[in-house]
Amino acid sequence: MRAVISVVGKDRPGILAFVANNCAVRNINIVDVTQKVLQDLFTMIMIVDIPEDLDNFHKVADEMEHEGDAEGLKIHVMHEDIFNAMHTI
């Protein structure tokens, strides 16, 4: 399943590595990454492939969001379709 991982937080070394590592251990393949630092606010959007399994998606999304909280990062894991629906005709 194609999903979007968004990460927002105070910039510091290792954020990208932290998120990428979290993906790697769960067998999530990163397809595309864009990131930007504005003043000291880090924002990153990752497009990823999550192995097809619904329970797995719920579990992965919850875990990654909690792990982000612990690091002071706001992480969202959402199905890609929501963005396509809202922003394309």
């Binding site: 894991v77 929501i82 963005f83 809202m86 922003h87």
Partner: protein, 454 residues
């Protein structure tokens, strides 16, 4: 291209996180026509069985979709065939039906169940009469059941006997729940031109022209619209503001369409409609009044309010229509006073009055909604307010409604708190002139000339 996509993604996340964008309700409409039985207990058994079978996966499916797409789905609801139709077959004490619906709703884990309803715009059957008689007790003895009665339409005119009866019923519903913030009246709507596929409570019911089972979705998003208007700044012209609202409504509706289609696919139930209504909540920033103020009014209810609301309502429809394959329900901007922080403030300061709200209802959906009136307001006065509101709907060929809550034991200036989505609000003053002769005439206001279209 990638920057644009990133901005879009961040915009969506901001809408959900900071601007209270959500799916207000996924409502499953279920026909109860095949549950009718001459024995009321048998009829209730069939209803319980059908509801718990059809909607058994509704709550869990909505939860899954919510998690997967990252969109809060606030309420899961059920609407059923107007129960008066079943009462016409069975006769008996309709409170039994309400208790059956309540039990089924609780066992399924839904938030509300609507359809304790009767359509009496042209006249009343014995079943309609039994149902209306049972409304106050039914609402007092159940938690999730919502009731609505349609007393007028552009095609049929206004049934003034029913208007008289509903004034008394609203009062009685409040009296029976006076120890519970008169909550009964908050679950009762009196309609003119009610719609059969409305997913919003308290007025949802599953019309007889609908299929056996259907999924309808209601979106929300006043906070998103307000922020978009704010970003445009005070220099933007009114048509530029209308354009911004249109684009925002498009995005909100697309989200509703996606969730509706997905729920329909997973539950294997046909997709009905997306209701485009901007439904406020008491949460900070989720207010329709604040959109009007953002457009440029010092306070909602002052001069200019009706014009701003007319533009808002129209722009929401225009944006939403292209975003969904099936638009229906009420589709416009809601102005429930106690559910909207901006409306509450404006009513408290005295800028927003019932008379101004009445004017506003002529240009938006739906009507005099969640308005708390003094506890000693007579049944005839309530009926007269209902008749006025129905007249606006009848003549303008639109849905109007009254959800008035007589705050028993309270007077203008006091404050009544419901909590949750229903909010709180000040008791608003009502003019005391007597309309009892007019209300007691009964009969019917004939349908207007423009109903004769054939």
């Amino acid at each position: 291209m990638r920057t644009k996509r990133r901005d879009n993604i961040l915009e969506t996340i901001r809408m959900i996180d900071e601007e209270c964008l959500d799916i207000r309700t996924v409502t499953m409409g279920i026909s109860l026509l095949d549950c009718a039985d001459t024995d009321i207990d048998r009829s209730c058994e069939k209803i319980y069985k059908k509801l718990t079978e059809k909607a058994k996966d509704l709550v869990s499916t909505a939860r899954d979709i919510s998690r997967e797409y990252g969109i809060p789905i606030i309420n899961k609801r059920i609407s059923v065939t107007p129960v008066s139709l079943l009462a016409s077959v069975s006769g008996g004490d309709c409170v039994k039906y309400a208790k059956t619906l309540d039990k089924a709703g609780k066992d399924l884990g839904v938030d509300f169940i609507g359809g304790f309803s009767a359509l009496v715009q042209k006249g009343m059957t014995e079943g309609d009469r039994l149902l209306i008689e049972a409304i106050p007790q039914a609402l007092a003895e159940t938690d999730l059941v919502c009731s609505s009665v349609n007393i007028g339409s552009t095609k049929a005119g206004i049934n003034m006997d029913a208007v008289k009866l509903m004034g008394e019923t609203v009062r009685r519903a409040a009296e029976l729940t006076k120890d519970n913030c008169c909550f009964g009246a908050a679950k009762l709507v009196v309609f003119c031109n009610s719609v059969e596929d409305n997913p919003f409570m308290a007025g949802a019911y599953h019309g007889i022209t609908e299929p056996d089972c259907v999924i309808n979705v209601g979106v929300s998003g006043p906070g998103v619209v307000r922020n978009a208007v704010k970003e445009a700044g005070p220099e933007a012209s009114m048509n530029e503001i209308a354009e911004i609202i249109k684009k925002t409504a498009f995005k909100i509706t697309r989200m509703g369409q996606l969730v509706g289609m997905e729920a329909s696919r997973r539950l294997n139930v046909p997709f009905g409609i997306v209701d485009l209504s901007l439904a406020p909540t008491p949460a900070v920033g989720d207010s329709v009044a604040k959109i009007l103020e953002e457009i440029g009014l010092e306070e909602c209810g002052g001069p200019g309010t009706t014009a701003c609301l007319a533009m808002l309502n129209d722009a929401v429809k225009k944006g939403g229509v292209m975003a969904s394959s099936n638009v229906g329900g009420l589709s416009g901007a809601f102005i429930p006073v106690s559910e909207d922080a901006g409306m509450i403030a404006a009513a408290e300061s005295g800028t927003l009055t019932i008379e101004k709200l009445e004017a506003m209802t002529a240009v938006c959906s739906v009507g005099l909604d969640m308005i708390i009136v003094p506890g000693d307001t007579s049944a005839e006065t309530l009926s007269a307010i209902i008749a006025d509101e129905a007249a606006i709907g009848m003549i303008n060929n639109k849905t109007t409604a009254c959800r008035l809550i007589p705050a028993i034991g309270m007077d203008a200036g006091d404050h009544l708190v419901f909590g949750g989505l229903l909010g709180e609000g000040p008791v608003m003053p009502v003019r005391r002139t007597d309309a009892s002769v007019m209300i007691n005439r009964g009969g019917r206001i004939p349908s207007p000339i423009h109903s004769l279209k054939n």
